[in-house]
Amino acid sequence: MHNPIDIAARATPRPVARRLRGLSDRAIAWIFVAPTIFLLLAINIFPLIWTIRLSFTNYAANRPNREVEWVGLRNYSRILTDADTWANMQSTAHFLIWTITFQVVIGFTLAWLINRKFKGNDLLTTLIVLPMMLSPAVVGNFWTFLYQPQIGLVNYAVEAVAGIPASSFSMLGPGGWARWAIVIVDTWMWTPFVMLICLAGLRSIPDYIYEAAEVDRASKWRQFWTITLPMALPFLMLAVLFRGIENFKMFDMVTLLTGGGPGNETLLTSIDLKREAFEKWRTGYASAYAIILFVTVFGLASIYVKALNKVKER
């Protein structure tokens, strides 16, 4: 910024701006912020408080006229001692761990390759990014078609490449493949997200560090482990944080793909919560469940952010 206007503008003394006509800054600040605060209170805070209140009752939304009883912490203790809850937590953990692992490995590799700045890398990056912007519900629904055992593209590709007969397995049916089927679709959708963030991280590493390393005759392998990876790590960790929070909440894509089945194999906590709240109509119980999930995400994310800040400071 070297144009004359900027220079003139910068020379203006700050206190002058304080001399205002009309409303004071303070009043304007409040007028500008108030509608947003009001909306957040109405759509976020009030419902949260209501959920907490409901979580101590046996309220059922489909029977609004039934007398509501206070049950204290019974909902919480029931959820935490229910073996099914823990089974669903395990399914969610399986989904989280494997989606994040695949997305980090593939996403980082792609970013590292794209960072070679070959011709056309911008175009390919834009094309690769497309899946993650699309509606998870619509895309998830269409993947059930790709996963059809008799006619689907996935089974056909497996037969063509690996020679396993297409009709001998079903990705969404019994046989234990379903929990991998949802990992595959999520990885397909969200690898570009990790890739984009990693790419920003790699591009933030200044050239002179590598130049210095070359002068010191550090091998490429050593440069990767001592420069590239540590310097891109905060970005990678940020990507993992976002994916972690999002996938802990996962509902839409998996609902359309498996609906939690076969059996309860892919019954992630969010899908289970939906069943409790809107199919079994155990509103009080589901509210307690919701609070437990929220506290879990919030707690894990806070610990993680602390770790992330430590890495950044290094």
Binding site: M1, A8, A9, T12, L20, R21, G22, L23, I28, A29, F32, V33, P35, T36, L39, L40, A42, I43, F46, W50, T51, L54, A61, L113, I114, R116, F118, K119, G120, L124, T126, I128, V129, L130, P131, M133, L134, S135, A137, V138, N141, F142, F145, L146, I151, G152, L153, Y156, W188, I197, L238, F242, I245, D252, L256, T269, S270, L273, A277, F294
Partner: protein, 311 residues
């Protein structure tokens, strides 16, 4: 850059990297290509095995998407086909009985998407400006609070909203969904817009204030034009969120205000899902987002990371 740099990757490594990334691109786009191409297949072609790469394109899927049909009965042959789409349905042994609900659902998506985007942007720009330029008490806490609202699973939010809307008569209304999506999007909008406004030098406004503008005039005539690109990209992010959202839509809307995402998976033909029609609906629904993504590519990273990574 100098003519020769020791850190520049070698020609060979560029080629290998380019080929590998190109291969990944092809594989990853295959499902999207499949969605678009299935939309132009006939029913039998869509479920043939091995999957057909080359086929006779037809708009049957699109016709089925927009119409409801019944089988032609043997005893009462229908009147001769009048239009080209009548003819396409006759060829399948069907007769059109009326329009399907897809048009309505698509329009609902448009109304709710644009409505909530406009509201998010108006409220978000004002709040972001205040956060960026003034001392707002508890500013840091507010921003963290705004972010933490995104950690609630949508179903957890849906329970009290469902009860609240039932009391207020907002269930299954456009207004209810617009307010809800605005409530969810506003955190992203404020946070992103604050980032964009932070980048506009304060000196511009201060110069305007000296010239006798009021604070409000300075905001309107100096800050807003400068923030236009940022506002536009934030708007696209809000629009894409509202457009794609499924959980709230499926739980809180049904007959009146239902959007396209909960509707598309329910498109049923005779004997299971009518895949060409589903694919046609998906194509129409996904294409606008693809176009927006390409327009947005410069600010994409910033939007998806809540402005944490700006590049």
């Amino acid at each position: 850059m100098t003519a020769y740099s020791i850190t520049e990757p070698s020609k060979a490594s560029k080629w290998v990297a380019g080929l590998l990334v190109a291969f990944y691109t092809i594989v990853t786009l295959l499902p999207l290509v499949w969605i678009i191409s299935t939309g132009f297949k006939s029913g039998p072609d869509s479920i043939s095995y091995p999957p057909k790469l080359v086929f006779d394109p037809t708009v049957e899927g699109y016709v089925n998407l927009f119409t409801s049909r019944t089988r032609i009965s043997q005893d009462a042959p229908p009147p001769p086909a009048e239009t080209w789409y009548d003819e396409i349905t006759r060829d399948q042994g069907m007769v059109i009985t009326g329009p399907s609900r897809f048009g309505e659902r698509f329009m609902n998506s448009v109304i709710i998407g644009f409505g909530s985007t406009a509201l998010s942007i108006i409220l978000g720009t004002l709040a972001a400006y205040a956060f960026s330029r003034f001392k707002v008490p508890l500013k840091d806490d507010l921003l963290f609070f705004i972010l933490s609202t995104r950690m609630m699973p949508p179903i957890a939010v849906a329970i009290p909203i469902y009860l609240m809307y039932r009391e207020l008569g907002l269930s299954d209304t456009h207004l209810g969904m617009i307010l809800l999506y605005t409530g969810v999007n506003i955190s992203l909008a404020v946070w992103l817009l604050k980032g964009f406004i932070d980048e506009i030098p304060r000196e511009y406004e201060e110069a305007a204030l000296i010239d006798g503008y009021t604070r409000f005039q300075a905001f309107r005539k100096v800050v807003l034009p400068q923030a236009a690109t940022g506002i536009a990209s934030t708007a696209i992010f809000c629009l894409i969120f509202a457009w794609n959202e499924y959980a709230f839509a499926v739980l809180l809307t049904s007959g009146n205000a239902q959007t396209a995402p909960p509707f598309i998976p329910t498109i049923i033909g005779t004997g299971g899902q009518d895949w060409p029609a589903v694919a046609a609906g998906a194509t129409l629904f996904l294409l606008p987002v693809m176009v927006f993504t390409i327009l947005l590519r410069k600010h994409l990273l910033r939007g998806i990371t809540f402005g944490a990574v700006r590049k």
